[in-house]
């Protein structure tokens, strides 16, 4: 199905099932521990051996030799595969670092061997008996030191966030110099780790030259192509299966070392092998969100009209890597005639920087939305009024191109009302509650809506049961449930009549889980397949398919009625199709918007920051399931609190690695850090987006929240911290006197 004109009325608009806060259909499995994750699939292959991955102890250099005698002789060892056994393997889709093969070390904890043994304990013990002779070389590990020499580099996250090396509209320098009110500040965001709860894990089994991977991956079709390319085998010989993914956040968009080494280990051992990356390996072996150094300049007239805006960002990555596209949203978020965005990219020998939830916007808006707060204060304007004044309904760089919908001002106004913004004292440090200094902060939320081809197959059996099959993944996002709701609505059945099967590369290829495109595009793919199935049902029954109404498990056309079970009684009916998008995404700017509100208390003695209240008001098209969508948003808000207040991979600048590479050293928010969170979805449908009239929401929830936290801390204390995370050491020396 080609979607190239805005949607009109269709069966989804009935909203009998779609749009309702249904409990997750996979909930009873997740809550009873019976949902199978990659490493625990004892049933899929007999005689599974255990692989243990050894990571490099140096960040850059070469391996001269690996001494394996003791490890080979250790009890239970079945095979050892080292990186010296083969030339460097090709890279898969989207990988920057090479995953295995050859003697060159690109980054710390790069996989250099897998030891396969009968038990986990034996594999682990043997791996630590390997002695490695390294020839280390000096590397570049300090972003601030490399930044002055970093060349201009453009980039695109592939997730709707991108910018050229330099982008100019009008005369930024002239307009900025002439502006009566100006801001010129620098901001820094930290390297961050996805820290998903389930480690990267894979069981690999070979059947002749055919490979099956039971793995944990967000993008099955990418993964299938990638592992084939890495291993040099035809993609048709590979199957991936990933029905449950224990969190990804961008960290499982790609094939990583667990999959490669499970496959190589299984080949070498001649039996199935399962590999999980150990927790201390993950931060350095896999990918992370790169740190940024940003500069923002804003010039405005005295009435608050922005006349000049510039956003520049420098990040680092391995050779061939991309920049963190932190300036991208600044091209679209606020009006202003004279504009500049620019990115620079330093070569660093740290682990690979790559996508983490809302790459680009997440760190970019942590800077931009603080700059907007600072500018509002300089102008003597309320920060909401300042944003609304500079709102735009068109692409500021290309005013002929409108937003399909843009309810940013509504989000901010409604949020202000619900949050009690009118009661905020704009004077910093003015509100006390016992020992606590209390402040409120606001930020805009912004993230683009991406449209990707997505296919599905829908089956109808003689019991009237509908089965959806697509390689779409559910990484906690609620895919199982919203796809069941979509099929139920389209086929006119109750939710419990729908079975959803996901994550298998033998199923039609979906858009996968990334860039907050998953819900809208994969549901649209199921919609397209259901249209085909409805036609097949009508044809089987001899009904006119244009007149057929599907409701209550029945099909009606004119005065004729038949049950779905009857339609499929003579044999299963199948509909398969893909949604493909035309140029509506080019003709209109499709984005999602939010107003983010945060109240913090800051201990007047210790500068400890406690988040007291949080609210997000979101405008993101039709919300397919308010319960699961709300969870996406509160989860993103939680991760944003981490970015703002605690998360930072600390770089050892001498030896070139992230020091705090486990869940004790890398601090993420815990229960005690997060208050009750409120989410409001504006009642919105966007017919330009898709037949579902929905848009993404899973990343909108993180974009801007960190800035709102920082602005609340400033409102509470009068201390402006522009270097995230806002840990108490950065506040303490400048805190107001405790009473």
């Amino acid at each position: 199905m080609k979607f190239d004109t805005p949607a009109t009325t269709n069966p989804i608009d009935q909203l009998k099932v779609v749009g309702r806060p249904a409990d997750r259909i996979d909930g009873k499995f997740k809550t009873t521990g019976t949902a199978p994750y990659a490493h625990e699939r004892h049933d899929v292959a007999a005689d599974q051996a255990y692989g243990f991955v050894l990571g490099s102890g140096i960040a850059k250099g070469r391996i001269r030799a690996m001494h394996l005698d003791a490890a080979k002789a250790a009890p239970g060892v079945l095979a050892i595969v080292t990186t010296l056994d083969m030339p460097r393997l090709k890279r898969g889709t989207m990988n920057v670092a090479f995953l295995f093969g050859g003697d060159e070390i690109q980054h710390y904890h790069q996989a250099i061997a897998v030891v396969v043994a009968r038990t986990f304990e034996q594999a682990r013990a043997a791996a630590y008996l390997i002695r490695v002779d390294y020839a280390p070389e000096p590397g570049r590990y300090d972003l601030a030191a490399e930044a002055p020499n970093a060349p201009p580099v453009g980039g695109d996250s592939g997730e709707g966030s991108g910018a050229p090396p330099e982008d100019r509209v009008g005369d930024f320098e002239g307009a900025f110099a002439a502006a009566p009110v100006r801001l010129d500040e620098r901001y820094a965001t930290a390297d961050e780790s996805h820290a998903m709860m389930e480690p990267h894990a894979t069981i690999a089994a070979w059947d002749g030259d055919r490979l099956t991977l039971w793995t944990s991956n967000q993008m099955i079709a990418w993964g299938k192509g990638s592992i084939a390319k890495i291993l040099g085998i035809p993609a048709r010989n590979v199957r991936l299966d990933s029905p449950y993914v224990g969190g990804g956040f961008g960290g499982k968009l790609f094939i990583r070392a667990d999959a490669v080494l499970a496959a190589l280990g299984a080949k070498a051992a001649g039996q199935p092998v399962k590999v999980a990356l150990t927790r201390p390996l993950i931060a350095n072996n896999t990918t992370h969100r790169p740190a940024t150094l940003q500069r923002i300049r804003i010039g405005a007239d005295r009435d608050g009209t922005i006349t000049a805006v510039a956003h520049e960002s420098t990040s680092g990555n391995l050779p061939d890597g991309d920049p963190e596209t932190a300036v991208s949203q600044t091209k679209l978020l606020y009006a202003g005639a004279n504009r500049l965005t620019a990115m620079r990219l330093a070569v660093l020998d740290l682990p690979e920087g790559n996508a983490m939830r809302a790459p680009g916007e997440a760190p970019g808006m942590m800077a931009l939305e603080v700059a907007m707060d600072e500018m509002a204060e300089r102008l003597g304007l309320d920060p909401i009024a300042f944003r609304v004044l500079n709102d735009t309904q068109v692409d500021p760089e290309n005013p002929d191109r409108r937003f399909s919908q843009r309810a940013l001002a509504d989000c901010l106004r409604l949020g202000a009302e619900r949050f009690g913004w009118a009661g905020r004292d704009p004077r910093p440090g003015a509100v006390r509650d016992g020992r606590w200094l209390v402040g409120m902060g606001v930020a805009a939320g912004f993230r683009n809506n991406l449209l990707m081809k997505s296919a599905a197959r829908v089956r109808l059996d003689g019991m009237g049961r509908v089965t959806v099959e697509t390689d779409m993944t559910d990484i906690g996002t609620g895919s199982y449930t919203i796809l069941a709701q979509t099929a139920a609505e389209m086929m006119g059945v109750e939710l419990d009549k729908v079975v959803v099967r996901l994550g298998d590369s033998d199923f039609p290829a979906s858009a996968g889980s990334g860039g907050q495109w998953g819900a809208n595009t994969s549901a649209s793919g199921v919609y397209a397949a259901c249209v085909k199935l409805r036609e097949a049902v009508a044809q089987r029954l001899g009904f006119n398919s244009a007149d057929a109404v599907f409701t209550d498990g029945e099909v009606r056309a004119g005065n004729r009625v038949a049950t779905l079970a009857e339609a499929a009684g003579a044999g299963e009916l199948v509909g398969e199709d893909a949604i493909e998008f035309g140029d509506l995404g080019d003709r209109y700017q499709q984005s999602t918007f939010a107003g983010h509100f945060v109240e913090v208390g800051v201990d007047s003695f210790t500068a400890e920051v406690r988040v007291r209240r949080m609210l997000a008001v979101c405008a993101a098209g039709r919300i397919l399931n308010p319960k699961t969508a709300r969870s996406q948003v509160i989860g993103a808000m939680t991760m944003a609190v981490g970015s703002a207040l605690m998360e930072k991979l600390e770089v050892d600048k001498r030896r070139g690695f992230f020091v705090n590479h486990d869940l004790a050293g890398y601090e993420v928010p815990v229960h005690a850090d997060i208050p009750h969170q409120e989410v409001i979805f504006l009642d919105e449908t966007d017919p330009i987006s898709s037949p579902m009239k929905a848009k993404g929401v899973g990343e909108l929830g993180i974009c801007g929240v960190g800035g709102a936290v920082a602005n609340a801390v400033y409102n509470a204390t009068g201390v402006r911290v522009r270097d995230y995370p806002i840990t108490l050491d950065k506040l303490l020396a400048r805190m107001p006197e405790a009473i």
Binding site: K30, T32, P36, G248
Partner: protein, 168 residues
Amino acid sequence: MPVSLEVNGRAVSLTLDPRVTLLDALREHLRLTGSKKGCDHGQCGACTVLVNGRRILSCLTLALMHEGDHVTTIEGLGTPDDLHPMQAAFVRHDGYQCGYCTPGQIISAVATLDEIAAGIPSHATADLLAAPQVTGPEIRERMSGNLCRCGAYSNIVDAITEIAGSQG
């Protein structure tokens, strides 16, 4: 080495490498994979189980140390067709997303309410002489050893609060 214990009411006897953790005994030897390995270092709480009625991190204890112990895992609380009230509350309140931390959260949630009922104080208990109450701060403090990177905390607290209320 041999070890005998009771898991979810069933007597089991295993012969194990002494290095096998209780978590790996459950997951790899008994194939009770509901208890999750998120870190294997006692940092995330995903492996939380009840041993003789008290919650522990099963990755931080060796299986051989539990001769004769009674272990309850998530599989012992309820099944997909017969959910424990706390499991049902997690479903109603969407107290999970990816589901990987969920078994540990649910075991900890059950234990948290038991600990409060038993009068065991926490860091969030203001008055150590009074019986601790089921409050938001008490629940959040006692649940803080169970990480949820998807960020379902607000919903998890709602689920636990509902069950605490229904228990009177």
